[in-house]
């Protein structure tokens, strides 16, 4: 029967002591009895015995599972140590906890956005299909497809098992009680099978339902089902009115389903192509999605797409595909959804890791100075036979306990952060609604807290136990203290380096963001209220729509405080609006280059004035332009400059479609400034505006210029429109300033976060610098006393201390600047009109760092000044 070494079975320290002491006493007695003096007897026995501790150690070793006892002992000891200095422990745990929490949160977000696959069946095989069309200057030249192009793609491609077309739209849903504005899309029947989505109740579309004229059916999302229909299963087969037409609901999609590229969509209806659509090659309005067959790789699919491209170009010589450098482009769906946040997220991850490293360095420095304070105790233990390994183990256990506590604190922080992120970032980050804490995340937190503990615990532990005998000497800043100081100084330099790199990077991002804000978008967004109205009634003639808008304009213009009212088919920076080919009648360029892809907009009189778009030549639309007057258009300055350079564009002609198109020629009546419709960060395509009276678009966005805060007018405007026609509720009611802010949201979030992390890092580094300088001063009290006794005055002393601190800061800053240069190559794609070596950023960063360093070194320097030489010299 083996006795296990738990609890009471192990002989206690006391018992072992007593046992051995008894032996000693007996032996001494016997030696005295043999004739030695008491003193000699004791000395002999002591020699014979050797080290008490060693014997006790061996006795304890005789018991198995001793490591468990040791661990428990170390843990108890660590807890006692931590409880004894609560301030110290609190600082370490909170700093590390903050860093670990931030890391976990960022990693969580990254995991749910970048690493987790899309929730569709075999999502790696899904691709977006774009048509490349080089117009004037949009960066990626990616265009939607037209109906003929899609049909040819379906006919010619060999590597796709499904192809689906989508066209985003919004619906006025009347549920009897109220009219809701719902986002949705018209889609091919093959979309949902392609994504592997099965209906929760009901059925999906059949391909027969794609023909025009068939009975109208609709699929709704789970959340809409709950919101608008109360989760009633009887909704299947019910007919609802959408946009004035009756649709039968045939199915409800499951709760997990979201079409990620457009996650707000709640209603889907079958897409159908009329004869007119099938002849409009130049009308690019369809998004296409496809699934690659299992037996083909993506390379093969791309090769096939290239072949389809060539076929389309060859079969349609009358269309300017060559001039547009047309190509069918495939883009993996995942890339489409998350591609533009991938790099910013990695940059944020690098930033939080830097913050964690700085926090570790601070913790290590703190532990190092504390180990130094315990040098005497450690030295004595080593001298009495304590094994170095034991001591190191004990110190590491202590740092593991601190690490575990920080990990718990960090986990709690991360949970809270994730809840906040979901609320704040839903418009800035894709897929963020699916973020949650799961096992990989928790494992990550545990691993990072353990790793952190090892990093900041190992070095001080090893360092403090090496040459421990030195601790017994009188320490006047002896070798051990000096080596510890060197470590601490190295840590501070490292911290400053990391924080300077972070600061400069954040500064570049901030400057980029400010530059984007400073871009001239071509219009004046201040004091403009916008709202969209979808006058969608297919049966009604265009006259009814025109009448409606006329009454709306009259009513809104009469509101006090309203300066101008206008409307446009697609507001800037909203993604609304379509594009198409226009053929320009000019001799300035060869005919085969005279058919660019242009953004097409339908505008009412008053639009340009309401939006503050500058008129350059000619005139804007007014009452002269009616449905019966000559077809006219307004172009933007880039079109004018490219195709009629040096001439007056007013009076020139252009037409919709390719050069062979039968559309009527349109006369140019005016030239306006270029508007950045797509994004603030780059010019958009050339723009062509046609008047509402001649090409009525059913959905228009009203632009209302007001006196003062436009948001105040929202309710009044809404009520006026409701009074005119309650079935056409306005939606997307926003100020233009809000729309502009939303368009840069994807840039704003990483910039703000990066700035926050950089500030965190700098503050931590400043605290680290302060700690190290304080410690250095306290160790050098003797030296300072000497100097003062030899004639140095207070200000010389303080200057000496500050010089040292600033030298460390300078070293760290230079390294940090070099680091930021290296980092800038990585981030340069994300900067906007800011060069990586930006003097303004570097200067501001240097000034900030210098200021903080001055404060951090000044306080210890003052303390150094106050040293009384007599006291300092005497105490040592």
């Amino acid at each position: 029967m083996k006795r296990l070494g738990f609890g009471g079975s192990e002989p206690t320290e006391r018992q072992l002591d007593d046992e051995l002491r008894f032996h000693v006493e007996q032996q001494v007695r016997d030696y005295v009895a043999e004739g030695l003096t008491e003193e000699e007897a004791r000395r002999r026995v002591r020699l014979e015995f050797g080290g008490f501790d060693q014997i006790k150690e061996e006795c304890r070793d005789a018991i198995p599972l001793r490591w468990l006892n040791l661990l428990l002992h170390d843990l108890r000891y660590s807890f006692r140590l931590i409880a004894r200095s609560p301030g110290f422990s609190a600082v370490v745990v909170s700093v590390l906890g903050l860093a670990i929490g931030l890391n976990t949160a960022v990693f969580s977000v990254m995991d749910s956005i970048l690493f987790r696959p899309l929730p569709y069946r075999d999502a790696g095989r899904l691709v977006y299909i774009w048509g490349r069309a080089t117009g004037i200057g949009i960066p990626d030249d990616r265009n939607e497809l037209s109906v003929p192009e899609l049909l040819e793609l379906e006919r010619l491609s060999r590597t796709f098992s499904h192809i689906a077309a989508l066209s985003g739209t919004t619906f006025n849903l009347s549920t009897g009680a109220e009219t809701l504005r719902v986002d949705g899309a018209t889609v091919s029947a093959s979309l949902f099978p392609m994504l592997g989505a099965q209906p929760e109740i009901g059925r999906l579309f059949t391909s027969e339902e794609e023909s025009p004229g068939k009975e109208r059916v609709a699929l709704i999302s789970h959340s809409l089902w709950q919101r608008a229909f109360g989760g009633d299963a009887g909704v299947i087969g019910r007919t609802v009115r959408m946009n004035g037409l009756g649709y039968q609901i045939v199915g409800v999609l499951p709760a997990w389903f979201r079409f990620e590229p457009s996650p707000e969509d709640d209603i889907w209806t079958p897409i159908s192509f009329s004869e007119a659509d099938r002849s409009q090659r130049g009308n690019h309005s369809l998004i296409a999605l496809a699934r690659i067959k299992p037996q083909f790789s993506s390379k093969q699919a791309e090769a096939d797409a290239a072949a389809v491209t060539r076929a389309i170009i060859e079969q349609n010589p009358q269309y300017p595909y060559e001039q547009m450098h047309f190509a069918v482009l495939l883009c993996p769906l995942m890339e489409e959804v998350v591609g533009d946040v991938r790099k910013p997220l990695w940059i944020l991850m690098a930033a939080v890791c830097s913050v964690l490293l700085i926090a570790c360095a601070n913790a290590a420095a703190l532990l190092l100075s504390r180990a130094n304070a315990r040098r005497r105790e450690i030295a004595i233990r080593v001298a009495l036979g304590g094994r170095r390994a034991r001591l190191v183990t004990q110190m590491i256990t202590e740092s593991l306990v601190l690490g575990a506590a920080s990990g718990l604190a960090g986990l709690a922080l991360a949970c809270w952060l994730l809840k906040t992120v979901k609320v704040l970032a839903s418009s800035s980050l894709p897929r963020v609604m699916a973020t949650s804490l799961n096992w990989p995340i928790v494992a990550f937190t545990v691993a990072s807290s353990l790793l952190t503990a090892l990093i900041f615990g190992l070095a001080p532990a090893l360092h403090a136990t090496r040459d421990a005998a030195d601790g017994l000497k009188e320490d006047r800043g002896g070798a051990g203290g000096r080596r510890s100081q060197r470590w601490q100084r190295a840590l501070v330099v490292a911290e400053v380096t990391l924080s300077v790199t972070l600061l400069v990077t954040a500064g570049l991002f901030i400057r980029s963001f400010l530059q984007v804000q400073n871009v001239d978008p071509g219009f004046h967004p201040a004091n403009v209220l916008t709202m969209r109205v979808s006058f969608r009634s297919a049966e009604d003639s265009p006259d009814v729509a025109r009448n409606f808008y006329r009454r709306v304009f009259d009513s809104l213009s009469s509101l006090p405080g309203v300066l101008q009212v206008g409307a446009v088919s697609g507001l800037p920076l909203t993604g609304q609006g379509s594009s198409g080919t226009v053929t320009v009648d000019t001799r300035a360029v060869p005919p085969d280059q005279a058919a660019p892809e242009a953004d097409l907009r339908v505008a009412t009189p008053g639009y340009f004035e309401a939006m503050g778009i500058r008129l350059i030549r000619g005139r804007t639309f007014d009452t002269r332009d009616t449905e019966s007057s000559a077809p006219c258009a307004i172009i933007d300055e880039t079109l004018a400059a490219k195709y009629w350079p040096g001439e007056d564009p007013v009076g020139k002609r252009l037409k919709r479609g390719g050069s062979g198109s039968t559309s009527p020629w349109i006369t140019v009546i005016g030239v306006v400034a270029h508007v950045r419709y797509r994004t603030l960060e780059a010019p958009s395509r050339t723009e062509v505006y046609t008047p509402f009276s001649q090409a009525s678009n059913k959905s228009m966005t009203l632009a209302i210029r007001t006196v003062g805060n436009p948001a105040k007018y929202a309710e009044a405007a809404r009520l006026r429109i409701k009074a005119i026609d309650p079935d056409q509720p306005p939606y997307m009611i926003r100020t233009m300033d809000q729309t502009v802010a939303r368009s840069v949201a994807r840039r704003r979030l990483p910039t703000v976060l990066l700035g926050l992390f950089a500030v965190c890092a700098l503050l931590m580094a400043a605290v680290g610098l302060y700690g190290v300088m304080s410690y250095a001063v306290s160790r050098r009290t003797h030296e300072i006393g000497m100097r003062m006794a030899l004639g140095a005055n207070a200000s010389q002393i303080s200057r000496m201390v500050m010089r040292q601190g600033l030298a460390l800061t300078a070293a760290g800053s230079l390294l940090g600047a070099a680091g930021s240069l290296a980092a800038s190559r990585w981030i340069s794609a994300l900067l906007f009109e800011v060069r990586p070596v930006d003097l303004v950023t570097l200067t501001i960063t240097a000034a900030t760092v210098a200021a903080l360093a001055l404060i951090a070194t000044y306080i210890p320097a003052r303390r150094a000044m106050k040293v009384e030489p007599v006291v300092a010299l005497r105490n040592e």
């Binding site: 007593d18 032996h23 015995f49």
Partner: protein
């Protein structure tokens, strides 16, 4: 006459450990003793040839106790002091027989070689 010190080298040699175990078990088979008494008894009975180092004895006592061959108890000595007395258990008695047999075989083997080598 040469005295042999039974001490622990840093690598505990099995032979020395086993021998010490045997001696301790044998001595305690005559009755319970405390550690000091055991060490004196070994010295006496071997007529000062063998002397045990405390650094070896006490770990051995604890090990033997841990394996269930000895049982310890704090008791008062005649002098009125407190000491830890060790006693042989039944399992210890059985182990003693085993060890004695082993030692016997071992000794015969050595002796056998010494005889023939002449």
């Amino acid at each position: 006459m040469k005295m042999y010190y039974l001490y622990m080298a840093t690598e505990k040699s099995d032979l020395l450990q086993g021998t010490l175990d045997l001696l301790v078990l044998k001595i305690l088979s005559a009755g319970p003793l405390h550690g000091y008494a055991i060490s004196r008894r070994i010295q006496q009975v071997s007529k000062d040839v063998l002397q045990v180092q405390q650094g070896s004895l006490y770990p051995a006592l604890h090990r033997l106790e841990n394996r269930g061959w000895l049982k310890s108890e704090w008791q008062e000595t005649e002098g009125g002091r407190h000491a830890k007395y060790y006693r042989l258990t039944k399992a210890g008695a059985r182990q003693l027989e085993v060890e004695e047999a082993n030692w016997d075989r071992f000794a015969r083997a050595i002796y056998g070689i010494l005889q023939t080598a002449e």
